[in-house]
């Protein structure tokens, strides 16, 4: 499975591969070195979801403008 972000482990600083969409679902990712698991706090989930949606909208907007340039 391909993960799109790396988060350094707060315990041992090893990079923990993670997926931001799966983090939003409440999934936790464990450190390959020390087995500590990290997850997104439910309190912050709406903030992250909102930011990711905004970024997706920005990508769509850019794609639309790109098509306009091509025409």
């Amino acid at each position: 499975m391909q993960f799109n972000i790396n988060i350094p482990c707060p315990v041992c600083q090893t990079q923990i591969p993670a997926d931001s969409n799966l983090l939003l679902t409440g999934m936790q990712f464990s450190c390959p070195n020390c087995n500590a698991a990290i997850g997104l706090s439910p309190k912050s989930a709406p903030v992250v979801e909102n930011a990711m949606n905004e970024f997706e909208e920005l990508k769509k907007e850019v794609a639309t403008k790109k098509n306009m340039t091509n025409e």
């Binding site: 988060i7 707060p10 600083q13 931001s20 930011a51 905004e54 920005l58 850019v62 340039t69 025409e71």
Partner: protein
Amino acid sequence: MYQKKLRPFKPKATKSHAIEKIISAPLVAASHANSMMQKEQTAFMMETGFKEVNGKYIPEMIEMVLTQHVMDQKSSTENAPGMKTIETSFNLPILTIIPMNSLAVDQVNVQFEMEVNQQISRNENKSNTISHTLAPNTTSTQLKGRISYDSKEDANATSQYRRQNSSSLKVEINAAPLPLPVGVNTILDLYQKSIQPIQLKDQQ
């Protein structure tokens, strides 16, 4: 926010158009599009990843949960060690969670085809008919006899003129996510390296 209305590029098949200008126009447009994307992405990062407090930009933080399983002496027995789950909260800049790439045009293919057809033919129709008729009985002299004169001239010429110029320009632009600029990566790297669990004092 910087916004400029884009107009589609339509090359005109006239001899006054320099070929260099026709070919460079899509490249200039791609460069302009890149600049626009970078500005919008920077604006997004500043709006989403930071909050302005007293004129200073402070990173927007989110809360993460660190779960660790540790040995627990209290619940341990002689035969089986007891395990306890500890949850620790730590904060992380939101920019490190969003999978951001640099949105940019990474490849522009310009295929330029020019077709010039020139065909010259001239079409002129001239028809001159000169007719002189000295009809009998209109002029008479006292001479005995008759004078008759008849003359006719025809001229005909055909030529056609047609001119056709055409040019076609095919532009392929591929926009793909590119790695983030070095400056942004440096900022994110600093954020990531500064992640350390900090014991917060109980407010009570």
